[in-house]
């Protein structure tokens, strides 16, 4: 009886003092409460509700995933134990003024904070010694509990020893104390934004300046959702905003390899497209717009905008000295400098016709054509994407090609239009914050990191293993990493090339992780330090989106011996002799109050601001902080109690945002931050900066480079369409169970979302695979096994492995059982050095080995038996 085992295990192996354990298990409906024969569910719920009425209080609790939603989470605390959660009910709900409702992840936070697998004590690996001990046991060794003193002494002495022995640049990642004492190597490279990181500011504008606000989006006639799935990736309000656009009459067209859950609710049409083939499709759409446009009979192109606000569209608007056929139009139409069709071998050959694109992207040419004409003819169109199309190897040009279409169809700077990134906190709702937080008022400066060496994410594990990394054009540089500090960001889990990463972790002399669960990094470390979650600290103040500000309180005291990251850094700094013990930072609560006190909120006129909160002397005393009384919109204690302040919006209010509206009207008076001040469809800076990184020389126009591990590479013979050893594409989608890699250990989420591998029935049948089978997925990096969901929702030839599962490598089977995306992904540095998560080729076969228990039944990672 697995449920009984798990509940029993959870209860007996967890928690706190015995007294609070009993209370907590009672609150969770556990054995203690039931021992007396109290009926389950119903009566326990009654008991909880009665408690709710009489004791306990509702405390705003942080929801701190990197999902972008960051909705309001409130915890019910009874005697220091959280019995349940609720979401936003601080004001009545309406589409114009919606509650900030959380998703299934946020609703599971208390399972995460109070899970039996919380790290409770500092620990070290049983077979570790200075120098590493038996490094091959990293990831499978036993754990030994140690005291904080011993742990911090070990860390400090290892930092000193390694830095002394190998010199600066031997520590990978670190905190302020490490920077001050030795310096550390950092990694770099766009992960979330793909190639937009370099493209956006050089070609047009920062991504935070793309798209319109949610009320304006109700005016759209047509919303193109290209590789964006807000329902999964930005849980909470964004999908609700899009629903209002739909109710207001907008048509939705989704372009995606997968019929997403956003599409199921919003889409009027779904255009399936192979991952990584968006550039050809966009170029072919440009071809269609240009060739079909007739200003008199069939106006498709916004020529005013092209002429006034862009450069590089054709040979009339190129910078001096540039070859005349190095422009967007000639490239798309496949013309040479004289305007004739370019011959084979010419840099602009072939014409980027829909037929040319169709062979690559899998969209019928008739559809490419009709889609381009439709967005050309419709006004206004919101032409939106969420960067997944740019998280593809070699795809530097996709952003520029995307902007070119947006420019041509008149989506930039118009009401009901909008272009570019719709993602994270601004999904479906762009615009400057209506509430701006003040500064935290920290008194200590961050020490400078003396090590300037930076390794690209795609190369980091190779750099550890081979001692070489790329730093621009020219020969690789030397590096000798002997310590890895997993301080935040779950790097070992979320960096490409994880199979190599594990090898790298077994090579260095010392590995350290601070975390609150035995995540991937912790598992492969020598010393693990337990940190507090956001529920165990003050200081969480944030803008979840432009219209609101949250202030979460400390919900409970730190569990067991968990400590703040800041305290750990402080202790390390003292031991390393780089911190002055008399100079301490102000408290988290003081920082929070400073930010809140300094917060300003835009008034109804949309222009002037006022302080957000009023503060009295009594308030300051009650909070136990320093400050000055002030007047503002709401009393500070009201804000603290509610945990949220949200600016009410309504149709016709003054909070509209239309990105680049002024630029459209007058590009001279309101230039962009690009080199020319205009939209650069020819962008020299992009070409120069990317080429200088040393991996790929690119053109200044959006020229297509077939991606490594894209669609073309599934063939060993492209001409004759003969498939190679890895004939299927694999991409990694944001997944409901997790926010990146967070929440993967929460049992009820593992039950609700089972990390299935997705395949099309045609591909499955060809391999004798049925829905529900366990399949083995193999890439150039290794193999994983997963239950397969065979579904028509995904294109033939394409597979999907949800992003973020914590690797669970099984030595005897030689496979990763968890389906970690990065275990199968390779680090391939191309163009701007972004991570091309959505480019990988795999083979899939039925697994004939031992079966796989459902994820929710896997044992929790509890490293120490309870003392």
């Amino acid at each position: 009886m697995t449920e009984k085992n798990f509940l029993t295990k959870t209860l007996t192996e967890t928690m706190l003092t015995r007294r609070s354990f009993l209370k907590w298990s009672a609150a969770l409906g556990g054995t203690a409460a039931l021992a007396g024969g109290v009926s389950y569910g119903l009566k326990v719920a009654q008991a909880t509700a009665e408690k709710a009425a009489s004791e306990g209080e509702w405390v705003p609790a942080a929801c701190w995933g990197n999902c972008g939603g960051r909705c309001l989470n409130v915890a019910h605390v009874v005697d220091g134990v959280v019995t349940r959660q609720k979401t936003d009910d601080t004001h009545p709900d309406s589409p114009d003024f919606p509650q900030q409702r959380g998703c299934s992840r946020g609703r599971s936070q208390r399972q995460r904070v109070f899970g039996a697998d919380r790290l409770k004590y500092p620990m070290k690996r049983a077979h570790w010694e200075p120098g590493g001990g038996d490094k091959s046991l990293r990831g499978k060794d036993e754990w030994v509990r140690i005291s904080w003193d011993e742990a911090l002494d070990i860390v400090a002495s290892e930092i000193k020893r390694i830095n002394d022995k190998y010199g600066p640049g031997s520590i990978l990642w670190g905190t302020n104390a490490v920077a001050a004492a030795a310096g550390y190597v950092n990694t770099w490279g766009s992960t979330s934004s793909g190639t937009w990181a370099y493209t956006a500011p050089r070609v047009i504008t920062s991504q935070s300046n793309m798209g319109n606000d949610r009320l304006d989006m109700r005016k759209s006639k047509l919303i193109v959702m290209w590789s964006t799935d807000p329902i999964c990736s930005s849980g909470g309000s964004p999908a609700y905003h899009y629903l209002q656009s739909k109710k207001a009459g907008a048509k939705f067209i989704f372009v995606d390899p997968f019929f997403t859950n956003s599409a199921q609710v919003l889409a009027d049409e779904w255009i399936p497209i192979r991952p990584g083939t968006d550039t050809p499709m966009l170029l072919a759409m440009g071809y269609t717009l240009i060739t079909e446009d007739d200003p008199a009979t069939n106006p498709l192109i916004d020529w005013d905008f092209i002429k006034k606000n862009t450069i590089g569209f054709d040979n009339t608007s190129l910078p001096d000295g540039v070859e005349p056929d190095e422009n967007y139009r000639d490239y798309v139409l496949g013309l040479d400098a004289s305007g004739h069709p370019a011959p084979v071998g010419h840099k602009n050959y072939p014409a980027k016709t829909p037929e040319w694109a169709s062979e690559i992207c899998g969209v019928p040419p008739e559809k490419i054509r009709s889609f381009a004409i439709e967005i050309g003819q419709t006004n206004p169109v919101a032409f939106m994407q969420s960067d997944a199309l740019a998280r593809v190897n070699n795809a530097q040009s996709v952003g520029q090609a995307f902007v070119a279409i947006a420019a041509m169809i008149g989506s930039i700077g118009v009401s009901g239009g909008g272009f570019g990134q719709t993602r994270h906190a601004a999904a479906g709702n762009r615009g400057p914050n209506l509430i701006n937080l003040g500064s935290s008022g920290t008194v200590l400066d961050s020490p400078k990191n003396p090590v300037s060496a930076r390794i690209n994410n795609n190369e980091v594990w190779d750099a550890v293993l081979t001692g070489k990394y790329t730093d621009g054009v020219g020969p690789k540089k030397d590096i000798n990493i002997q310590m890895v500090y997993h301080t935040k960001g779950s790097r070992l889990q979320t960096t490409v090339g994880q199979a190599k990463g594990i090898q790298a972790m077994r090579k260095v002399e010392f590995a350290l992780t601070t975390d609150f669960h035995l995540t991937t990094g912790a598992r492969y470390s020598d010393v693990v330090l337990p940190v507090t979650t956001m529920w165990e600290r003050d200081g969480y103040v944030t803008n979840p989106n432009r219209e609101a500000v949250f202030w979460a309180s400390k919900v409970i005291d730190p569990l067991f011996e968990a400590q703040d990251d800041a305290w750990i850094d402080w202790q390390l700094g003292l031991r390393l002799g780089v911190y002055d013990p008399n100079l301490t930072e102000i408290s988290n609560l003081q920082q929070a109050v400073n930010r809140v006190a300094g917060a300003t909120v835009v008034k109804e006129d949309g222009k002037t601001t006022e302080p957000l909160v009023s503060i009295t002397e009594d308030d300051l005393k009650a909070l136990g902080v320093t400050g000055e009384p002030q007047t503002g919109r709401i009393p500070i204690m009201d804000f603290k109690k509610a945990g949220s302040y949200q600016v009410p919006r309504s149709e016709g209010d003054n909070f509209t945002f239309i990105a680049l509206k002024d630029f459209r009207k007058d590009p001279v008076a309101n230039p962009l931050d690009t080199e020319s001040g205009l939209v650069e469809l020819y962008c020299q800076k992009l070409a120069d900066d990317v080429t200088a990184l040393g991996w790929t020389a690119i053109r200044a126009i959006p020229a297509y480079i077939p991606p490594e591990r894209g669609y073309e590479t599934t063939f060993s013979d492209w001409e004759n369409k003969v498939k190679g050893p890895y004939p299927l594409q694999m991409y990694n989608k944001h997944y409901w169970r997790r926010s990146h890699s967070e929440f993967d250990n929460v049992l009820q989420l593992r039950e609700a979302f089972q990390q299935e591998f997705l395949m099309n029935p045609i591909d499955a049948e060809a391999r004798g695979i049925k829905n529900g089978d366990i399949v083995k997925i193999t890439s150039s990096e290794g193999s994983s096994i997963r239950p397969v969901l065979v579904t028509d929702r995904i294109m033939p030839g394409v597979t999907q492995l949800p992003h973020g599962a914590w690797t669970e490598y099984d030595e005897s089977l030689g496979v990763d059982k968890a389906g970690s995306d990065n275990y199968l992904e390779a680090g391939v540095p191309t163009v701007e050095g972004h991570s091309g998560f959505n480019s990988q080729n795999v083979q899939v076969e039925k697994w004939n080995g031992p079966g796989l228990a459902p994820d929710a039944q896997w044992p929790q990672r509890i490293p120490l038996k309870e003392a």
Binding site: G41, S104, Y240, L243, P364, A752
Partner: protein, 210 residues
């Protein structure tokens, strides 16, 4: 006093995100294995050669919709009818509850309920089920699932009023025939909804079941 409380569900707005089901689990501290609210993704369609390009496969009417259902607090509840101890009972306001102090854990109701509402607790040996958050309602609050939905796809109230407001669709595939137990449930179907019992689509899970 209500006559018959019921749920309204808008399948055209439901994304299958499970926030409602998780909110329910959190509110009642349900363990893995016990789920009082079920989310069902149902879909169909296929891939066919493009008529103009036979080598190219195109999507042919691919659709997906999601259903969020809990206990239906049926007007003619099978669980109440078959329960040997009267542990399963229906209140004046229409809510169907289990009195665990009478339950013998024979699981007969589990066999009889078309909606999978009664859930056996291994730990305690009795049945558990959605209780319409009747204690929250007593405080004037909404059921946890209703307040949780980020798409506002769930409502509850007097069944007659819900019917007057939203019509009388009680089921789509793969929900069971509503004539078996007359669920106190009104829904707005998704535009691609399939008729009850048609079997046109599939439940989109690795087990093929919810």
């Amino acid at each position: 006093m209500a006559k018959q409380l019921g749920f309204y569900f808008d399948s055209s707005a439901c994304t299958g995100c499970k926030a409602c089901a998780i909110a329910c689990k959190d509110r009642s501290s349900l363990p893995v294995g016990t789920n009082w609210r079920h989310i069902t993704d149902y879909g169909g369609g296929g891939w066919v050669p493009d008529p103009n390009h036979p080598d190219l496969l195109i999507a042919n009417n691919i659709y997906v919709y999601s259903l969020s259902t809990s206990c239906m607090h049926c007007e003619d509840p099978a669980c109440v009818n078959v329960c040997p101890t009267t542990a399963m009972y229906k209140r004046d306001d229409g809510i169907v509850l289990v009195d665990a102090s009478k339950c013998i854990g024979c699981r007969y109701c589990e066999w009889a309920c078309p909606y999978g509402a009664p859930q056996f607790s291994e730990e305690k040996g009795v049945m558990t089920k959605c209780d319409f958050c009747q204690d929250l309602q007593a405080q004037g609050l909404d059921p946890a699932c209703v307040d949780a939905c980020p798409m506002r796809a769930l409502e509850f109230g007097e069944l007659d009023e819900l019917r007057a407001k939203y019509g009388d669709v009680q089921a789509v595939d793969p929900l069971p025939d509503p004539n078996i137990t007359h669920p106190s449930f009104v829904m707005t179907p998704h535009k691609n909804s399939q008729p009850v019992g048609s079997g046109n689509g599939k439940i989109l899970t690795v087990s093929g079941k919810v």
